[in-house]
Protein backbone atom coordinates (compact mmCIF):
# COMPACT_ATOMS: atom_id res chain seq x y z
CA UNK A 1 0.00 0.00 0.00
CA UNK A 2 1.18 3.51 -0.81
CA UNK A 3 1.51 6.29 1.70
CA UNK A 4 -0.78 9.29 1.79
CA UNK A 5 0.75 11.98 -0.41
CA UNK A 6 -0.41 15.56 -0.87
CA UNK A 7 1.25 15.90 -4.29
CA UNK A 8 -0.60 12.86 -5.56
CA UNK A 9 -3.75 14.42 -4.18
CA UNK A 10 -3.27 17.43 -6.47
CA UNK A 11 -2.37 15.24 -9.44
CA UNK A 12 -5.31 12.89 -9.11
CA UNK A 13 -7.86 15.64 -8.57
CA UNK A 14 -8.56 16.50 -12.27
CA UNK A 15 -9.33 12.84 -13.02
CA UNK A 16 -11.73 12.57 -10.08
CA UNK A 17 -13.33 15.87 -11.10
CA UNK A 18 -13.98 14.39 -14.56
CA UNK A 19 -15.64 11.47 -12.82
CA UNK A 20 -17.73 13.84 -10.75
CA UNK A 21 -19.03 15.54 -13.91
CA UNK A 22 -20.03 12.13 -15.26
CA UNK A 23 -21.87 11.47 -11.98
CA UNK A 24 -23.79 14.72 -12.42
CA UNK A 25 -24.72 13.82 -16.00
CA UNK A 26 -25.95 10.37 -14.95
CA UNK A 27 -27.92 11.96 -12.10
CA UNK A 28 -29.61 14.33 -14.55
CA UNK A 29 -30.65 11.61 -17.02
CA UNK A 30 -31.60 9.00 -14.42
CA UNK A 31 -33.32 11.60 -12.25
CA UNK A 32 -35.52 12.62 -15.16
CA UNK A 33 -36.45 8.97 -15.77
CA UNK A 34 -37.13 8.40 -12.06
CA UNK A 35 -39.37 11.47 -11.73
CA UNK A 36 -41.40 10.91 -14.92
CA UNK A 37 -41.60 7.11 -14.91
CA UNK A 38 -42.38 7.04 -11.18
CA UNK A 39 -45.33 9.36 -11.71
CA UNK A 40 -46.57 7.33 -14.69
CA UNK A 41 -46.37 4.12 -12.68
CA UNK A 42 -48.22 5.67 -9.72
CA UNK A 43 -50.99 6.90 -12.02
CA UNK A 44 -51.06 3.62 -13.96
CA UNK A 45 -51.44 1.66 -10.72
CA UNK A 46 -54.40 3.87 -9.89
CA UNK A 47 -56.40 4.11 -13.13
CA UNK A 48 -55.14 1.25 -15.32
CA UNK A 49 -57.18 -1.87 -16.03
CA UNK A 50 -56.78 -4.60 -13.36
CA UNK A 51 -54.16 -6.60 -15.27
CA UNK A 52 -52.04 -3.47 -15.79
CA UNK A 53 -52.24 -2.70 -12.08
CA UNK A 54 -51.21 -6.22 -11.15
CA UNK A 55 -48.32 -6.39 -13.61
CA UNK A 56 -47.01 -2.93 -12.65
CA UNK A 57 -47.23 -3.67 -8.96
CA UNK A 58 -45.47 -7.03 -9.36
CA UNK A 59 -42.69 -5.76 -11.63
CA UNK A 60 -41.92 -2.72 -9.53
CA UNK A 61 -42.02 -4.66 -6.26
CA UNK A 62 -39.42 -6.96 -7.77
CA UNK A 63 -37.27 -4.04 -8.88
CA UNK A 64 -37.63 -2.37 -5.48
CA UNK A 65 -36.52 -5.42 -3.54
CA UNK A 66 -33.50 -6.59 -5.53
CA UNK A 67 -30.03 -5.03 -5.54
CA UNK A 68 -29.27 -2.26 -8.01
CA UNK A 69 -25.82 -3.71 -8.61
CA UNK A 70 -27.20 -7.04 -9.85
CA UNK A 71 -29.86 -5.30 -11.95
CA UNK A 72 -27.16 -3.21 -13.61
CA UNK A 73 -25.07 -6.30 -14.33
CA UNK A 74 -28.12 -8.22 -15.58
CA UNK A 75 -29.30 -5.53 -18.00
CA UNK A 76 -25.78 -4.75 -19.19
CA UNK A 77 -25.18 -8.44 -19.95
CA UNK A 78 -28.53 -8.68 -21.71
CA UNK A 79 -27.97 -5.63 -23.90
CA UNK A 80 -24.40 -6.42 -24.81
CA UNK A 81 -25.01 -10.12 -25.48
CA UNK A 82 -28.47 -10.21 -27.01
CA UNK A 83 -29.76 -6.75 -27.94
CA UNK A 84 -27.15 -4.30 -29.12
CA UNK A 85 -23.50 -4.35 -28.05
CA UNK A 86 -23.16 -0.79 -29.36
CA UNK A 87 -25.20 0.72 -26.53
CA UNK A 88 -22.99 2.72 -24.21
CA UNK A 89 -22.51 1.91 -20.53
CA UNK A 90 -23.57 5.47 -19.76
CA UNK A 91 -26.96 5.05 -21.46
CA UNK A 92 -27.68 1.57 -20.08
CA UNK A 93 -26.46 2.50 -16.59
CA UNK A 94 -28.54 5.68 -16.44
CA UNK A 95 -31.62 3.83 -17.65
CA UNK A 96 -31.30 1.06 -15.04
CA UNK A 97 -30.61 3.56 -12.26
CA UNK A 98 -33.58 5.66 -13.36
CA UNK A 99 -35.97 2.71 -13.47
CA UNK A 100 -34.70 1.41 -10.11
CA UNK A 101 -35.38 4.76 -8.48
CA UNK A 102 -38.70 5.11 -10.30
CA UNK A 103 -39.75 2.09 -8.23
CA UNK A 104 -39.12 4.18 -5.09
CA UNK A 105 -40.53 7.51 -6.32
CA UNK A 106 -43.71 5.79 -7.52
CA UNK A 107 -44.33 4.85 -3.87
CA UNK A 108 -43.88 8.47 -2.79
CA UNK A 109 -46.30 9.59 -5.50
CA UNK A 110 -48.73 6.84 -4.49
CA UNK A 111 -48.67 8.03 -0.88
CA UNK A 112 -49.36 11.55 -2.15
CA UNK A 113 -52.35 10.36 -4.19
CA UNK A 114 -53.75 8.33 -1.32
CA UNK A 115 -53.52 11.34 0.99
CA UNK A 116 -56.00 13.31 -1.11
CA UNK A 117 -59.31 13.45 0.78
CA UNK A 118 -62.10 11.29 -0.64
CA UNK A 119 -64.33 14.36 -0.92
CA UNK A 120 -62.09 15.74 -3.66
CA UNK A 121 -62.66 12.64 -5.80
CA UNK A 122 -66.38 12.74 -5.10
CA UNK A 123 -66.59 16.43 -6.00
CA UNK A 124 -64.79 15.73 -9.27
CA UNK A 125 -67.25 12.94 -10.04
CA UNK A 126 -70.22 15.15 -9.11
CA UNK A 127 -69.03 17.77 -11.59
CA UNK A 128 -68.49 14.94 -14.12
CA UNK A 129 -65.07 16.28 -15.02
CA UNK A 130 -63.20 14.36 -17.73
CA UNK A 131 -60.31 12.19 -16.46
CA UNK A 132 -57.57 14.50 -17.68
CA UNK A 133 -59.16 17.43 -15.81
CA UNK A 134 -59.59 15.37 -12.63
CA UNK A 135 -55.86 14.61 -12.65
CA UNK A 136 -54.59 17.87 -14.12
CA UNK A 137 -56.66 20.30 -12.10
CA UNK A 138 -57.42 18.47 -8.86
CA UNK A 139 -55.24 15.46 -8.05
CA UNK A 140 -51.78 16.41 -9.36
CA UNK A 141 -51.56 19.92 -7.85
CA UNK A 142 -52.50 18.60 -4.42
CA UNK A 143 -50.38 15.47 -4.50
CA UNK A 144 -47.30 17.35 -5.74
CA UNK A 145 -47.20 19.34 -2.52
CA UNK A 146 -47.06 16.09 -0.57
CA UNK A 147 -44.69 14.16 -2.80
CA UNK A 148 -42.16 16.72 -4.00
CA UNK A 149 -39.90 16.66 -0.95
CA UNK A 150 -39.91 12.86 -0.75
CA UNK A 151 -39.10 12.55 -4.46
CA UNK A 152 -36.32 15.13 -4.10
CA UNK A 153 -34.91 13.00 -1.29
CA UNK A 154 -34.93 9.94 -3.53
CA UNK A 155 -33.09 11.83 -6.26
CA UNK A 156 -30.42 12.83 -3.73
CA UNK A 157 -30.17 9.19 -2.63
CA UNK A 158 -29.85 8.20 -6.29
CA UNK A 159 -27.05 10.69 -6.83
CA UNK A 160 -25.12 8.89 -4.10
CA UNK A 161 -25.65 5.50 -5.72
CA UNK A 162 -24.27 6.50 -9.13
CA UNK A 163 -20.79 5.09 -8.30
CA UNK A 164 -22.33 1.59 -8.47
CA UNK A 165 -22.30 2.01 -12.25
CA UNK A 166 -18.53 1.75 -12.40
CA UNK A 167 -18.94 -2.06 -12.58
CA UNK A 168 -20.12 -1.75 -16.17
CA UNK A 169 -17.45 0.80 -17.04
CA UNK A 170 -19.12 4.15 -16.55
CA UNK A 171 -16.15 6.42 -15.89
CA UNK A 172 -17.29 7.97 -12.62
CA UNK A 173 -15.11 8.73 -9.61
CA UNK A 174 -14.28 5.22 -8.38
CA UNK A 175 -13.46 4.13 -11.93
CA UNK A 176 -11.27 7.23 -12.41
CA UNK A 177 -9.43 6.52 -9.16
CA UNK A 178 -8.80 2.92 -10.23
CA UNK A 179 -7.73 4.03 -13.71
CA UNK A 180 -5.24 6.46 -12.20
CA UNK A 181 -4.00 3.73 -9.88
CA UNK A 182 -3.56 1.44 -12.87
CA UNK A 183 -1.43 3.99 -14.73
CA UNK A 184 0.61 5.41 -11.86
CA UNK A 185 0.52 2.60 -9.24
CA UNK A 186 -0.56 5.32 -6.83
CA UNK A 187 -3.39 7.69 -6.04
CA UNK A 188 -6.29 5.33 -5.27
CA UNK A 189 -6.34 6.30 -1.59
CA UNK A 190 -6.35 10.02 -2.35
CA UNK A 191 -8.89 9.44 -5.13
CA UNK A 192 -11.40 7.65 -2.89
CA UNK A 193 -11.03 10.35 -0.25
CA UNK A 194 -11.62 13.16 -2.77
CA UNK A 195 -14.63 11.26 -4.12
CA UNK A 196 -16.14 11.03 -0.64
CA UNK A 197 -15.57 14.72 0.04
CA UNK A 198 -17.00 15.79 -3.33
CA UNK A 199 -20.13 13.77 -2.62
CA UNK A 200 -20.46 15.38 0.77
CA UNK A 201 -19.90 18.87 -0.63
CA UNK A 202 -22.47 18.37 -3.37
CA UNK A 203 -25.19 16.45 -1.57
CA UNK A 204 -25.25 18.17 1.80
CA UNK A 205 -26.50 21.61 0.65
CA UNK A 206 -29.12 19.93 -1.55
CA UNK A 207 -30.24 17.71 1.33
CA UNK A 208 -30.59 20.72 3.63
CA UNK A 209 -32.60 22.54 0.95
CA UNK A 210 -34.85 19.51 0.49
CA UNK A 211 -35.43 19.30 4.25
CA UNK A 212 -36.36 22.97 4.33
CA UNK A 213 -38.73 22.50 1.40
CA UNK A 214 -40.30 19.55 3.22
CA UNK A 215 -40.93 21.63 6.34
CA UNK A 216 -42.38 24.50 4.35
CA UNK A 217 -44.72 22.29 2.36
CA UNK A 218 -45.78 20.49 5.53
CA UNK A 219 -46.67 23.80 7.15
CA UNK A 220 -48.39 25.35 4.14
CA UNK A 221 -50.82 22.50 3.65
CA UNK A 222 -52.97 19.97 5.54
Amino acid sequence: MNEWNNETLVEVFPAIWQGFLVVLQVTLVAGLIAVVLGLSVAIGERIGPPWVKRVLSLVFQFIRNTPLLVQVLFVWTATSLYINPEWSAFAVGSAVLGVHYASYTSESYRAGIEAIPLGQWEAATALSLPTHRVWGAIVLPQMMRRSTAAVANWVIAMFKEVPTLFVIGVLEMIAQAQKYQGQHYDGAVEGYTIAGILFLAASYPVAVAARRLENRLAKSHF
Binding site: F62, N65, L81, G196, Y204
Partner: protein, 241 residues
Protein backbone atom coordinates in the same frame (compact mmCIF):
# COMPACT_ATOMS: atom_id res chain seq x y z
CA UNK B 1 -28.79 -19.97 -22.38
CA UNK B 2 -28.60 -23.33 -20.69
CA UNK B 3 -30.96 -24.02 -17.83
CA UNK B 4 -29.36 -27.37 -17.03
CA UNK B 5 -26.01 -25.68 -16.53
CA UNK B 6 -27.57 -23.31 -13.98
CA UNK B 7 -29.24 -26.18 -12.09
CA UNK B 8 -25.95 -28.08 -12.01
CA UNK B 9 -24.16 -25.10 -10.48
CA UNK B 10 -26.75 -24.59 -7.70
CA UNK B 11 -24.64 -26.29 -4.98
CA UNK B 12 -21.87 -23.77 -5.58
CA UNK B 13 -24.25 -21.01 -4.53
CA UNK B 14 -24.75 -22.37 -1.00
CA UNK B 15 -21.54 -20.94 0.47
CA UNK B 16 -21.99 -17.46 -1.14
CA UNK B 17 -25.59 -17.39 0.05
CA UNK B 18 -24.34 -17.87 3.60
CA UNK B 19 -21.82 -15.07 3.06
CA UNK B 20 -24.58 -12.72 1.90
CA UNK B 21 -26.74 -13.64 4.90
CA UNK B 22 -23.76 -13.25 7.23
CA UNK B 23 -22.85 -9.81 5.87
CA UNK B 24 -26.48 -8.70 6.11
CA UNK B 25 -27.01 -9.97 9.66
CA UNK B 26 -23.67 -8.74 11.00
CA UNK B 27 -24.00 -5.28 9.51
CA UNK B 28 -27.66 -5.11 10.61
CA UNK B 29 -26.59 -5.88 14.19
CA UNK B 30 -23.87 -3.23 14.01
CA UNK B 31 -26.29 -0.76 12.41
CA UNK B 32 -28.82 -1.34 15.20
CA UNK B 33 -26.24 -0.63 17.91
CA UNK B 34 -24.96 2.46 16.06
CA UNK B 35 -28.52 3.65 15.40
CA UNK B 36 -29.53 3.46 19.06
CA UNK B 37 -26.31 5.09 20.25
CA UNK B 38 -26.55 7.95 17.75
CA UNK B 39 -30.33 8.24 18.03
CA UNK B 40 -30.13 8.65 21.81
CA UNK B 41 -27.23 11.07 21.47
CA UNK B 42 -29.00 13.24 18.88
CA UNK B 43 -32.11 13.42 21.07
CA UNK B 44 -30.06 14.48 24.10
CA UNK B 45 -30.70 17.96 25.45
CA UNK B 46 -26.99 18.66 25.99
CA UNK B 47 -25.32 20.39 23.08
CA UNK B 48 -21.97 18.72 23.81
CA UNK B 49 -23.54 15.26 23.34
CA UNK B 50 -25.77 16.20 20.42
CA UNK B 51 -23.26 18.00 18.21
CA UNK B 52 -20.66 15.27 17.60
CA UNK B 53 -23.41 12.73 16.91
CA UNK B 54 -25.15 15.14 14.53
CA UNK B 55 -21.90 15.84 12.65
CA UNK B 56 -21.14 12.13 12.34
CA UNK B 57 -24.64 11.34 11.05
CA UNK B 58 -24.58 14.15 8.48
CA UNK B 59 -21.09 13.16 7.40
CA UNK B 60 -22.08 9.55 6.74
CA UNK B 61 -25.45 10.34 5.19
CA UNK B 62 -23.93 13.03 3.01
CA UNK B 63 -21.59 10.81 1.04
CA UNK B 64 -22.04 7.63 -0.92
CA UNK B 65 -22.13 4.10 0.53
CA UNK B 66 -20.11 2.80 -2.44
CA UNK B 67 -17.38 5.36 -1.85
CA UNK B 68 -17.43 4.64 1.89
CA UNK B 69 -17.04 0.93 1.18
CA UNK B 70 -13.99 1.55 -0.98
CA UNK B 71 -12.64 4.01 1.53
CA UNK B 72 -12.93 1.56 4.42
CA UNK B 73 -11.45 -1.27 2.38
CA UNK B 74 -8.60 0.50 0.62
CA UNK B 75 -8.00 4.01 1.96
CA UNK B 76 -8.43 3.57 5.70
CA UNK B 77 -5.49 1.15 6.07
CA UNK B 78 -3.26 3.91 4.68
CA UNK B 79 -4.79 7.02 6.19
CA UNK B 80 -5.53 5.74 9.69
CA UNK B 81 -3.20 2.75 9.73
CA UNK B 82 -6.02 0.33 10.55
CA UNK B 83 -5.89 -2.83 8.48
CA UNK B 84 -8.49 -5.60 8.60
CA UNK B 85 -7.45 -9.18 8.00
CA UNK B 86 -10.47 -9.82 5.78
CA UNK B 87 -12.21 -7.56 3.29
CA UNK B 88 -15.54 -8.81 4.66
CA UNK B 89 -14.86 -6.97 7.96
CA UNK B 90 -14.35 -3.67 6.15
CA UNK B 91 -17.59 -4.32 4.25
CA UNK B 92 -19.56 -5.05 7.41
CA UNK B 93 -18.22 -1.95 9.16
CA UNK B 94 -18.90 0.33 6.19
CA UNK B 95 -22.47 -0.96 5.73
CA UNK B 96 -23.15 -1.03 9.48
CA UNK B 97 -22.00 2.56 10.03
CA UNK B 98 -23.83 3.83 6.94
CA UNK B 99 -27.16 2.22 7.75
CA UNK B 100 -26.70 2.94 11.45
CA UNK B 101 -26.50 6.65 10.62
CA UNK B 102 -29.68 6.45 8.55
CA UNK B 103 -31.54 4.43 11.19
CA UNK B 104 -30.49 6.82 13.97
CA UNK B 105 -32.98 9.26 12.43
CA UNK B 106 -35.68 6.61 12.81
CA UNK B 107 -34.75 6.11 16.47
CA UNK B 108 -34.65 9.86 17.10
CA UNK B 109 -38.05 10.35 15.44
CA UNK B 110 -39.68 7.55 17.41
CA UNK B 111 -38.29 8.86 20.70
CA UNK B 112 -39.53 12.37 19.87
CA UNK B 113 -42.99 10.92 19.18
CA UNK B 114 -43.45 9.58 22.73
CA UNK B 115 -46.09 11.84 24.35
CA UNK B 116 -44.73 14.56 26.65
CA UNK B 117 -47.08 13.51 29.45
CA UNK B 118 -45.27 10.17 29.69
CA UNK B 119 -41.98 11.92 30.43
CA UNK B 120 -43.61 14.25 32.94
CA UNK B 121 -45.23 11.28 34.68
CA UNK B 122 -41.89 9.49 34.89
CA UNK B 123 -40.38 12.63 36.43
CA UNK B 124 -43.27 12.80 38.89
CA UNK B 125 -42.61 9.26 40.12
CA UNK B 126 -38.92 10.14 40.47
CA UNK B 127 -37.45 7.77 37.86
CA UNK B 128 -33.76 8.09 37.10
CA UNK B 129 -33.01 9.02 33.46
CA UNK B 130 -32.02 5.41 32.77
CA UNK B 131 -35.24 4.03 34.27
CA UNK B 132 -37.22 6.54 32.25
CA UNK B 133 -35.52 5.35 29.07
CA UNK B 134 -35.83 1.65 29.82
CA UNK B 135 -39.32 1.54 31.32
CA UNK B 136 -41.18 4.38 29.64
CA UNK B 137 -39.58 5.71 26.45
CA UNK B 138 -38.16 2.67 24.66
CA UNK B 139 -41.13 0.29 25.15
CA UNK B 140 -43.35 2.87 23.44
CA UNK B 141 -40.87 4.04 20.82
CA UNK B 142 -39.74 0.56 19.71
CA UNK B 143 -42.94 -0.60 17.92
CA UNK B 144 -43.01 2.71 16.03
CA UNK B 145 -39.52 2.08 14.70
CA UNK B 146 -40.07 -1.42 13.37
CA UNK B 147 -41.64 -0.64 9.95
CA UNK B 148 -38.89 1.84 9.07
CA UNK B 149 -36.17 -0.44 10.42
CA UNK B 150 -37.66 -3.24 8.29
CA UNK B 151 -37.38 -1.05 5.20
CA UNK B 152 -33.76 -0.28 6.03
CA UNK B 153 -33.04 -3.97 6.65
CA UNK B 154 -34.18 -4.71 3.10
CA UNK B 155 -32.10 -1.80 1.79
CA UNK B 156 -29.16 -3.25 3.72
CA UNK B 157 -29.68 -6.67 2.13
CA UNK B 158 -29.58 -5.02 -1.27
CA UNK B 159 -26.51 -2.98 -0.36
CA UNK B 160 -24.76 -6.17 0.79
CA UNK B 161 -24.32 -7.01 -2.91
CA UNK B 162 -21.78 -4.18 -3.02
CA UNK B 163 -19.27 -6.17 -0.96
CA UNK B 164 -18.66 -8.24 -4.09
CA UNK B 165 -16.81 -5.14 -5.37
CA UNK B 166 -14.20 -5.38 -2.61
CA UNK B 167 -13.51 -9.03 -3.44
CA UNK B 168 -15.83 -10.79 -0.99
CA UNK B 169 -17.38 -13.88 -2.58
CA UNK B 170 -21.08 -13.30 -1.97
CA UNK B 171 -24.00 -14.25 -4.25
CA UNK B 172 -23.27 -11.46 -6.72
CA UNK B 173 -19.58 -12.28 -6.99
CA UNK B 174 -20.34 -15.99 -7.42
CA UNK B 175 -22.85 -15.32 -10.20
CA UNK B 176 -20.21 -13.27 -12.00
CA UNK B 177 -17.66 -16.02 -11.45
CA UNK B 178 -19.73 -19.02 -12.57
CA UNK B 179 -21.48 -17.17 -15.36
CA UNK B 180 -18.20 -15.71 -16.57
CA UNK B 181 -16.88 -19.10 -17.71
CA UNK B 182 -16.62 -19.63 -21.50
CA UNK B 183 -16.40 -15.89 -22.10
CA UNK B 184 -19.64 -15.18 -20.27
CA UNK B 185 -22.10 -16.58 -22.84
CA UNK B 186 -24.11 -18.11 -19.98
CA UNK B 187 -24.02 -15.06 -17.74
CA UNK B 188 -27.63 -13.94 -17.91
CA UNK B 189 -29.46 -16.87 -16.24
CA UNK B 190 -27.05 -16.72 -13.31
CA UNK B 191 -27.83 -13.07 -12.64
CA UNK B 192 -31.55 -13.83 -13.05
CA UNK B 193 -31.22 -16.63 -10.49
CA UNK B 194 -29.64 -14.46 -7.83
CA UNK B 195 -32.12 -11.64 -8.44
CA UNK B 196 -34.84 -14.11 -7.47
CA UNK B 197 -32.82 -15.28 -4.44
CA UNK B 198 -32.40 -11.67 -3.26
CA UNK B 199 -36.11 -11.10 -3.71
CA UNK B 200 -36.93 -14.17 -1.59
CA UNK B 201 -34.53 -12.98 1.13
CA UNK B 202 -36.18 -9.54 1.10
CA UNK B 203 -39.58 -11.19 1.42
CA UNK B 204 -38.34 -13.23 4.40
CA UNK B 205 -37.08 -10.08 6.14
CA UNK B 206 -40.38 -8.34 5.46
CA UNK B 207 -42.46 -11.24 6.81
CA UNK B 208 -40.29 -11.57 9.90
CA UNK B 209 -40.47 -7.87 10.67
CA UNK B 210 -44.27 -7.86 10.23
CA UNK B 211 -44.55 -10.61 12.84
CA UNK B 212 -42.21 -8.71 15.14
CA UNK B 213 -44.25 -5.53 14.75
CA UNK B 214 -47.51 -7.33 15.54
CA UNK B 215 -45.96 -8.85 18.64
CA UNK B 216 -44.50 -5.54 19.82
CA UNK B 217 -47.78 -3.69 19.27
CA UNK B 218 -49.77 -6.38 21.03
CA UNK B 219 -47.52 -5.79 24.04
CA UNK B 220 -48.78 -2.20 24.05
CA UNK B 221 -52.40 -3.14 23.39
CA UNK B 222 -52.35 -1.55 19.91
CA UNK B 223 -53.46 -3.32 16.72
CA UNK B 224 -50.85 -3.31 13.98
CA UNK B 225 -52.20 -1.73 10.81
CA UNK B 226 -53.27 -4.20 8.15
CA UNK B 227 -51.18 -3.85 5.01
CA UNK B 228 -52.26 -5.23 1.70
CA UNK B 229 -49.37 -7.64 1.39
CA UNK B 230 -47.12 -5.38 -0.63
CA UNK B 231 -43.43 -5.15 -0.12
CA UNK B 232 -43.05 -1.43 0.24
CA UNK B 233 -40.39 0.38 2.16
CA UNK B 234 -42.08 2.66 4.68
CA UNK B 235 -39.17 5.03 4.05
CA UNK B 236 -40.48 5.57 0.54
CA UNK B 237 -43.57 7.21 1.90
CA UNK B 238 -41.86 9.30 4.51
CA UNK B 239 -38.91 10.18 2.29
CA UNK B 240 -36.53 9.11 5.07
CA UNK B 241 -33.52 9.06 2.86
Amino acid sequence: MDVQEVIDSLPRYVQPLLVTVEVTLASAALALVVAFALGLMTSSKHLAVRTPARVFVEFIRGSSVVVQLFWFAFAMPVVLGIQFDYAIVAGIIALGLNYGAYCSEVVRGAIAAVPKGQLEASLAVNFTPFQRLRLVVLPQAWPEMIPSLCAFAIMLLKASALVSLISVTDLTAMAGLIGGRDGGVNQLPHYALILVVYFILAWLIWTGMRALERKAKRGLGVDAKQVKGRLTPAVAEKGLT
